[in-house]
Amino acid sequence: MSDIAIKVEELGKQYRLGEIGTGTLAHDLNRWFAKLRGKEDPFAKVGEVNDRTSKGSSDYVWSLRDVSFEVKKGEVLGIVGRNGAGKSTLLKILSKVTSPTTGRIKVDGRIASLLEVGTGFHPELTGRENIFLNGAILGMTKTEIRSKFDEIVDFSGVERYIDTPVKRYSSGMYVRLAFAVSAFLEPEILIVDEVLAVGDAEFQKKCLGRMQDVSRNDGRTILFVSHNMAAISNLCTSCVFMRNGMLHNAGPTEQIIEEYISFGRQNAGEIAGSDIVYANKCPQAYFSNISILVGGEITSSIDIKKDVQVRLEYVVTVDDSLIYPSIHLLDNVGTVIFATFNGPSATVNVDENFGKPLKKGKYVSVLTIPGNFLNEKAYSISAFLVPLDVTQTSVVENALSFVVTDTGEMRKEFGGDWIGLLRPKMSWMTAKLN
């Protein structure tokens, strides 16, 4: 037996864009005819990069291309990448939910995948019945589930409701029970996709702890996809970075996370027009330009003692829209350090436009982060345009990143490693008491 748990070779997956179901018969016949003549699939264009922001030339798209990597036994591999980078497709193929268009996978061991918690939960069945059903769907036998039943119920913390149909559960209880079943799976290889984005903070911590247990104590192989870099860096020993359906890089966690976070830095302190990638888009307003300035110059490399201005340029497309531009400052693992917006009560100064409905047109909002406030680190910002219906917020995650460099301003007395996410210059007072 080798020590390789999963070996992926030149994996590729092709999808059809647009409406599936129209003209497929014609395409199928065409494809079949090409195969008959020994020709290549006429719809599989080779060499096209999957970038969801730009328009491609064919109706078919490669969600994954030439992805090869190995996972050693007992390794916890993190998979990072932006939305649409191919992470979920990769997990789906690995967990056999769908088959690859090209390439091969060799797996040594039993795989269980958690692409979603509570798969197959039936609302009419009780918690107890659903534990058995869900467990069986995930590959456990009845005896296995029975032996862990008490632990599962205990972990979920819904003991009192265990004989109530799950349709009567609160959504939190539902998710807790669902995760609890998954947490007690004992496959050799576990595939997890962002399921930690559920439950309250306490429960999330419990889940992370459980995953750590599973990987460290039981020595199981885990593949873990998440946008939460803190979770990735806690759990994973190594990472792969997916980009546009291809494997961008692979290596130790620290290095890959750094690369992932700073990837936006290439846009040099400014991003405009169609380069702005939205995770969600508001119908009343959109960004035309986002930039970081120091002393009026666009930059992504910042002197620690200087004021940093984050400039949001946006277009309001509907008259009398109430829009709050908002900014999150994130550290290099994606933790939000602070969130700020231009609401009249949340700013130091007052501006006549704050909190007022805006007419159609182009606007600019500028946030000033004072000098001697940030630490010597890499940061990034996410930009938002928040309308009254917050579910419609325009979201640009990790819009820009920048690096703050210590130029010695506060270093007259202390030269060591200065910890902390921020390094604000604050007021102190010392007095003699006797």
Partner: protein
């Protein structure tokens, strides 16, 4: 198949889920299992028996229709359920892997359980007629019932798998299925005995593998009717071919159906 065996607990749980979820929050619960064939039979009795006055080979009309309905009900219900298995379970199937065959199998099994209960009802009525009517002459052919049930299960499984596999891509088949099953009822000797069909059209009716099965069932329990090893042999062969084709197509499609469903 070995894979499905490893997941046998899952099949059992699916069957259980089917039953529990079907009758939760109903007042009559499993009584519906009896009401359904009884009401259908009463309707047939009135429409085809009394109004249209179709021949039943001298068998009391009520038991004649009940026999046909019990058998046909098993086939048509498990066929319809298997035929939509991919589309109704798409959400679950796109998130987790288990041998896909477990789902159609569980459907056929849970319908088998349903059939056994309805068969029990049929037996009760049958015993009543056995003592009150002289037109009923059961024969040794009734011993073939387990074979007939098996054939129906396999046929509905095979046919259903072909449908569900193709429906993932071509939804037209879903349309065809709903009224196709209804029409197939008339292409099967359920409401009429085969003997009333003009001899030159027998081959047409018998081309339907269900025909010999329904006829054989009635011959076994009620007496008059057509029983022929050749016809039953054809049905068996057709069933095996359909099942084989169904399994092959199903296995081919299950690997990538989540992309098209």
């Amino acid at each position: 198949m070995a894979n499905v065996w490893r997941y046998r607990d899952l099949v059992v749980l699916f069957v259980r889920r089917d039953f529990v979820s079907n009758y939760k929050q109903t007042i009559l619960g499993p009584l519906w299992l009896f009401i359904q064939p009884l009401l259908t039979t009463i309707t047939f009795y009135i429409v085809f028996g009394r109004v249209a006055n179709l021949s039943t080979n001298g068998i009391p009309q009520f038991i004649f229709y009940l026999a046909g309905n019990t058998v046909w009900g098993y086939f048509s219900q498990s066929l319809t359920a298997v035929a939509t298995v991919f589309t109704t379970n798409a959400a679950m199937l796109s998130k987790v892997y288990f041998p896909r065959l477990a789902l159609p199998l569980s459907i056929v099994i849970s319908n088998l359980v349903r059939f056994s209960i309805q068969f029990g009802l049929f037996l009760l009525v049958w015993v009543f007629y056995l003592f009150t009517s002289s037109a009923i002459h059961p024969s040794w052919v009734a011993l073939l019932t387990p074979l007939l049930v098996m054939l129906m299960g396999m046929l509905s499984l095979g046919l259903g798998m072909i449908f569900t596999a193709l429906t993932t891509k071509y939804r037209d088949l879903a349309m065809l299925l709903t009224f196709g099953v209804q029409l197939a009822l008339y292409a099967t000797p359920v409401i009429y005995p085969l003997s009333t069909v003009p001899a030159k059209y027998h081959w047409l009716i018998l081309a339907n593998p269900m025909s010999a099965i329904v006829e054989t069932f009635r011959v076994g329990f009620l007496g008059p009717g057509t029983f022929n090893w050749l016809y039953l042999g054809y049905s068996t062969l057709a069933t095996l071919v359909v099942l084989l084709a169904g399994t092959v197509i199903f296995n081919k499609v299950e690997k990538s159906f989540t992309d098209t469903v």
